[in-house]
């Protein structure tokens, strides 16, 4: 295979790996948005907190990595429940803007708590995943990336089965479609909301654990969540498959822009490109690839 083609394929493959991370983060946002119409601005903080929690479970309590991930997920789920019960439920019926402001307040609170509980140092996660990269016909992937892709695939499959076939999944979809009808059908909307927040926080915890394996752990991890916004918009705000495809697309686009345009145009095109995509999508197809076009009859 010629070098140019290899370069392209490698950029695409590593873009998919990066995209899986964006997809995971985006799904966390979309789950809440779809069911409750709230964009949770504290999602980045949950990711960061999960990374810290997993780090301390492994280093301070010397738990095996898999058990630490499981416990991190459980703690994140509980945090989701508690957040919904104590912070969001009292806001039921309030304007969306007020609720969004509450999530911004929550993000500040969680960031401060992380600083108090875990300190402000840069921490290096003692990753148990071997560093040796896997080579397949000249294409290179780190073992962390392979685990990330597998986990994303498993999580998405679980979500698919859960939403399609389980009773609670159907209740959640019903609530997302129309809360009033769901109430009339005897669905406990409050219970659905609590569960949605828990599931969303667990998804954020999974992305946090992978970020801990890839990056230095510090309070700055929260900002990675911003990278998922273009994916959410591209996918169509309230669509889970859209968030996944949006995440993957943004990962690939970002890498291709970095590989081909950064050298020619310079100045960090790689990081700007996802937001250019976001801008274009908003102009051409504001409801995204999989979003529903809302038509209001007057």
């Amino acid at each position: 295979m010629n070098a140019g083609l290899m370069f392209f394929i490698q950029l695409v493959i590593s873009g998919i790996a990066l995209g899986c991370l964006y997809a995971l983060i985006a799904v966390g946002f979309v789950l809440i948005l779809k069911a409750t119409d709230i964009l949770n601005f504290a999602q980045g903080e949950v990711i960061m907190l999960s990374a810290f929690i997993c780090y301390f479970l492994v280093t301070t309590f010397h738990l095996p990595f898999l058990l630490a991930i499981l416990l991190t997920g459980i703690i994140a789920g509980l945090m989701g429940f508690v957040t919904e019960r104590l912070v969001l439920r009292p806001m039921l019926g309030e304007p969306v803007f007020a609720v969004v402001m509450v999530t911004i307040g929550l993000s500040i609170f969680l960031r401060s708590m992380a600083g108090i509980l875990f300190g402000h140092n840069n921490l290096v996660f003692p990753s148990p995943i071997p560093k040796e990269a896997v080579r397949m016909g000249g294409i290179v992937l780190s073992q962390t990336e392979i685990w990330l892709m597998l986990s994303t695939f498993v999580l998405i499959t679980v979500f698919f089965i859960f939403f399609k076939y389980s009773r609670m999944g159907l209740a959640m979809r019903g609530t997302a479609d129309d809360q009033d009808v769901a109430l009339l059908m005897g669905i406990s909307v409050k219970q659905v909301f609590a569960l949605i927040w828990a599931v969303s926080f667990i998804t954020a915890a999974v992305s946090g654990v992978f970020l801990a394996n890839i990056m230095v752990i510090n309070l700055g991890l929260t900002f990675v969540a911003i990278s998922a916004f273009p994916a959410i918009i591209l996918g169509g705000l309230e669509s889970i498959p859209g968030a996944i495809i949006g995440g993957l697309a943004i990962g690939i686009i970002e890498n291709l822009a970095g590989g081909y345009l950064d050298q020619i145009i310079g100045g960090g095109v790689k990081d700007v490109t996802p937001f250019v995509v976001l801008f274009l999508v908003l102009m051409i197809r504001p409801y995204g690839l999989f979003g529903k076009k809302e038509i209001e009859r007057v």
């Binding site: 070098a3 370069f7 490698q10 950029l11 590593s14 873009g15 790996a17 990066l18 991370l21 960031r111 401060s112 600083g115 402000h120 140092n121 840069n122 290096v124 560093k131 990269a133 290179v140 780190s142 970020l211 890839i214 990056m215 230095v216 510090n218 309070l219 700055g220 929260t222 900002f223 990675v224 990278s227 970002e254 890498n255 291709l256 822009a257 970095g258 590989g259 950064d262 050298q263 310079g266 100045g267 960090g268 790689k270 990081d271």
Partner: protein, 400 residues
């Protein structure tokens, strides 16, 4: 009677003025204490940089006090957290001057914070050592800013010199990955110009953002362009991301260089073998150095219950101790009559002042407060998870 009353009032006013003037001049100084301020980020995403620096500053002052203080006075440090935000820094300085009545500041924090506070610093004669490296701090001369730390230009010139002179490469293929921050842009320009002076053009100039999750496109592009010397102009987290990604793709340039904000043992701890070819420069001695100054740093850390792990970025702790060490020396030189003017004058008596390897020898005069433009080179010692010093203090080579 009227005239007598007026005379009495005038006398009282005159007496108040007489006693008030020295009180103002000796702000923050009593017969047994010196009150010093410290404005440095303690919380938020940048706190990892401020905390070790500040702890170093506070610990050395504690050490100085435990040694009996200076001229019978103990130093009291009041640390204000500016969260790395200029408006909060401005408010913190006002509080320190007007409420706490500090004599001076050990540091006014980063570039933006120091610039925002410049007028107040000059008005209230606040001698301080910023923990940032802007040329504007000493060129033109700023009477109360004592710059410490080689400028970014100097650091990158030394790196390019190292490639040509130490690594003896006559035609190196140099690539730069830089953050779109002030230091990144200054660094890129300095490298470009220095390489040009040696007759070489840069092969690649790529942006690596501070919050980079992955550096695949940068590494693959450098690999494709056969770059054999990578110079990074970024802080620790993105450089760690870069080295990890380079290891993943088995990209092994002859050397990857970094400047002071990315020259810390943390890089070897985080990257392990991936940091094998990493060479950093810094204007402070390394934690593992055998110099008397660094031995003192380790002694102070141990005395106050800190080790390398709890400190975090040890290079910044060394910087913090160094800054307080300079203040301690200035207090000694200022003598018993300590006030903002005598403190400034004391700093200006430093001539090739030797900190025992914490900083390079430094000189401040009443015409220049420029920092010593010197750095040391460090290489990764992977088995011991640390950086080790490989050169003495160096200045950029004089080019024809």
């Amino acid at each position: 009677m009227e005239v007598k009353k007026i005379r009495t009032v005038l006398l009282v006013i005159a007496l108040i003025c007489l006693f008030a003037s020295p009180a103002l001049a000796e702000r923050g100084v009593t017969k047994d204490t010196i009150k010093l301020g410290l404005i440095l980020v303690k919380t938020g995403p940048v706190a990892a940089l401020g905390l070790p620096d500040g702890h170093g500053m506070v610990d050395y002052m504690k050490y100085l006090n435990d040694q009996g203080g200076v001229h019978g006075r103990k130093v009291k440090v009041i640390w204000e957290d500016d969260e790395f935000q200029a408006p909060k820094s401005v408010a913190a300085l006002k509080k320190l001057i007007h409420r706490d009545k500090v004599l001076s500041l050990i540091t006014s924090g980063g570039s933006n914070q120091t610039i925002a506070n410049m007028k107040t610093i000059n008005k209230y004669k606040i001698s301080n050592i910023p923990n940032a490296l802007m040329r504007e701090f000493f060129d033109p001369y700023q009477p109360y800013i004592f710059a410490m730390g080689a400028t970014y230009e100097c650091q990158y010139q030394c790196i390019v010199d190292y490639i040509f002179n130490d690594m003896k490469d006559k035609n190196p293929r140099i690539g730069v990955v830089y953050a779109k921050k002030e230091y990144g842009k200054i660094g890129l320009k300095a490298i470009r110009e220095r390489a040009k002076a040696y007759g070489v053009d840069l092969v690649s100039e790529l942006v690596l953002p501070t919050g980079a999750v992955d550096a695949s496109s940068q590494v693959l592009t450098l690999q494709k362009n056969k770059v054999d010397y990578v110079i990074t102009c970024g802080v620790l987290p993105p450089v760690i991301s870069f080295l990890k990604t380079a290891e993943k793709y088995s990209y092994k340039p002859k050397a990857v260089f970094g400047f002071n904000w990315a020259t810390d043992d943390m890089i070897v701890k985080a990257c392990g073998k991936g940091a094998e070819n990493y060479i950093g420069v810094n204007f402070v001695g390394g934690w593992a150095d055998d110099s008397p100054g660094i031995k003192l740093v380790r002694k102070v850390a141990e005395k106050y219950g800190r080790d390398a792990k709890s400190i975090g970025l040890t290079s910044l702790y060394v910087h913090g101790i160094g800054a307080s060490y300079l203040f301690g020396e200035a207090f000694k030189r200022a003598g018993k009559d300590l006030n903002p003017d005598s403190l400034k004058a004391a700093f200006e008596t430093f001539r090739d002042f030797d900190t025992g390897g914490i900083f390079p020898p430094l000189t401040y005069t009443d015409k220049s407060h420029a920092p010593p433009e010197m750095v040391k080179f460090f290489k990764a010692d992977v088995p011991n998870k640390r950086l080790v010093t490989v050169t003495g203090w160096r200045t950029p080579k004089k080019m024809k």
